[in-house]
Amino acid sequence: MSYLDYRVGEPIADTKAPAGPIEQRWDQRRFEAKLVNPANRRKHTVIVVGTGLAGGAAGATLAEQGYHVVQFCFQDSPRRAHSIAAQGGINAAKNYRNDGDSVRRLFYDTVKGGDFRARESNVHRLAQVSVEIIDQCVAQGVPFAREYGGLLDTRSFGGVQVSRTFYARGQTGQQLLLGAYQALSRQIAAGNVEMHARTEMLDLVVVDGRARGIVARDLVTGELTTHLADAVVLATGGYGNVFYLSTNAKNSNATAIWRAHRRGAFFANPCFTQIHPTCIPRSGDHQSKLTLMSESLRNDGRIWVPRAQGDTRPPGEIPEHERDYYLERIYPAFGNLVPRDIASRAAKVVCDEGRGVGPGGQGVYLDFADAIARMGRAAVEAKYGNLFEMYERITAEDPYTVPMRIYPAIHYTMGGLWVDYDLQTTVPGLFAIGEANFSDHGANRLGASALMQGLADGYFVLPPTLNHYLGSTRLDPVAADHPEIEAVEADVADRLDLILAVDGDRTPDSFHRELGELLWDECGMARDEAGLRRALARIPELRAEFWRRIKVPGTGAELNQALEKANRLVDYFELAELMCLDALHRAESCGGHFRTESATADGEAARNDEEFSYAAAWEYTGGAPVLHREHLVFEHVHPTQRSYA
């Protein structure tokens, strides 16, 4: 049975967002929510998987409220979650600049930036809460950039016209995460959080239709353990690594959300992936991940490729009239500053034409020669010095004299577990927060709003909604030997044993690379029906080959990193298939999802609101999945076609 035979099921309607004026919905929801008596909270155990911005914030906050939290991460320390790598900044509608910003404007920008595929109620709440996040982080000692007067500095980011992005040099994610991690550490030391680092969730335990625990593997000893709780929160981040090469940390993976999906949680919009235009191109087959260069470089750098195909002269020898500054040519109004998705696609087009530069022709120049001539080397150095240094360290080329080479790379996944307004998945008692859910960014995420969403979910949104769940649900204790638990444990153990038993002749990485390349080609920056069908045919073959040829030395009862990789790969195969199906069924272009068939006359993305103004929530069946549509209603921001020419 092929994925192509998917069925359309009941639409999903209830999002738990109260009716009424959008500004009051969150207040209303909190007011209506049931509370748990503080004295009773410590009797409730909550599992939080993940210690990134979302999970770290949630774990600390829930423990402060008195819950007994059991938390997990696969890194050796909660402080190393992938969120630490975020560079640019975090948005908040503080309007400190008095430049016309407001909650309403942040809401508006985010809905529009998401190309009208996000839920208005959620986005509005995000904008409201953004203000509190900055207060919270400052109180924790997060060293945001400040001006001489001692007040917080902001900058503008990603095509919005107000300056609302708070930052800490190029290490905003690190500093925010350390804030959350420290708050969490305090609760760990106080005994309110039981922290399991180097422990990977491998499955979800659902008893009587409710999420009641997880099965996890101790990555050091290999021991499988079951942890029971009254609710489970997944804050496990995005799945960009399904492409093998991405800007995500090497070990970020989809296992937690995918296994939850297999246990009944709907997966929404899996094909909505974001590609970042300015990454350092790969230098060879050995490449293990891609490094992001801040988007701010496009403010002063000019992007070009040679006019002629296969021009291999060094850039300095290509005369001005043989260069094609293609963004400036195609989008005279926005030039090099067009949004991420547009800049990425344009780079792909010129490289596909054979005009790409660098090894493999997968790169375009980002040239600072004009900027240096105009502002002087010193000014360029002051503005971008650290980025230039990072570039030089990686490529051994001096960007002051030779233009940088950049290429788009997978960066963020807007898709994720479907959640309602309460951030609860379709499995009662299972919540998903941060990049792991699909909630707030629609088909495209604006710069500096993932950090905002992760912290909003963790610090402010989840705690009251979780309270409501625990306060309004009767939860009987689950016996440790409940048959369901044994079944899940057996599933997990069997799968690991199966992988170890194959003893074939291919490494996990070799499969992952192949899958990643396939996805990048057919379900990357531009997608079309034929390609997606090819991918949908190829993925099952590849998966079958995996089960014949995978080789993992060692045993499951020890630290075995090859086993970890292979085990994650099994989920990637299934997820990849769903991504391709989702991309195939959504025969429109929107945000990060560009279907070549659905373009305007001048090659721009053409949305189809008639047919596709919905979030696609997929139900796992074991065979062909079932599509549940959540129709989106836009009462406040009216859908328009984006134009940047």
Binding site: Q75, D76, H82, A85, P143, A183, A189, K551, Q561
Partner: protein
């Protein structure tokens, strides 16, 4: 490039370990040190040998997961993290020694993986500002002078990699602890807990079995984030103040 690697292999915390020799060929100078190890590991897996275990995640020099002692130097010859060290800093035909961080407080888990959870416990003992969610005043209520903000930031950059401990002849965690204490103690938000923080963190550090500081300065030389050695002096001051 062709290289000879001598890598510390140890199958578990209590197992004996030894330097084991490997040869890798076709190494590109553009590879990072970890990608070079990836290449070796691919070969080992196909041979049915256990790949070399090492910690890594971001591979961008920010998560602090990676770290090994390369030819006697923590993170190798460049002042950066192991993941950002590139093979062009080595020459064809080199023999490279690769060892785990060595410190009593960082027991070896396997091969090049060590247990750095002692750092987490140091943070848990006081490396935070108590600000329960929801209790925060408006962010602009407390301006922070720019020099204090900059000093805090300079120390907040610590990625918790542990290279300072690995490099210190005494296996001391002073630079790490200093980084955190200075970051929080120079900010007005951190002032109320200032004294207790330094005391608690030094106590926790001692309890974990790290050595004392003899002001050798190796730590600051090895630190990929350039945490200044003078931070240790500030930690000392904060500690002594806190005792009063």
């Amino acid at each position: 490039m062709n290289l000879t690697l001598r890598i510390w292999r140890q199958s578990g915390p209590d197992a004996p370990g030894a330097m084991t020799e490997y040869h890798v060929s076709g190494i590109s100078p553009d590879m990072s040190f970890l990608e070079m190890l990836d290449t070796l590991n691919e070969e080992l897996i196909l041979r049915g040998d256990q790949p070399v275990a090492f910690d890594h995640d971001c591979r961008e020099g920010i998560c602090g997961a990676c770290g090994m002692v390369i030819n006697g130097q923590a993170h190798g010859p460049e002042r950066t993290t192991t993941c950002q060290l590139h093979m062009r800093h080595f020459a064809d035909g080199d023999t490279i020694d690769v060892e785990p961080w060595r410190a009593g407080a960082f027991p070896v888990v396997r091969d090049l993986v060590v247990d750095r959870s002692a750092f987490d416990r140091i943070i848990g003992s006081g490396g935070y500002i108590t600000a329960p969610t929801g209790s925060a005043p408006e962010a602009h209520a407390t301006p922070v002078p720019k020099d204090a903000a900059d000093l805090a930031f300079e120390h907040a950059e610590c990625i918790g990699c542990g290279a300072c401990v690995a490099a210190c002849p005494n296996g001391s965690a002073m630079l790490f602890t200093a980084a955190k204490v200075v970051h929080l103690n120079v900010l007005p938000q951190g002032a109320p807990e200032r004294a207790g923080r330094a005391r608690a963190m030094v106590e926790a550090m001692d309890a974990e079995g790290f050595g004392g500081c003899t002001n050798t300065g190796e730590c600051a030389t090895a630190c990929p984030k350039g945490i200044p050695l003078t931070g240790i002096s500030v930690l000392n001051r904060e500690y002594l103040r806190g005792l009063r």
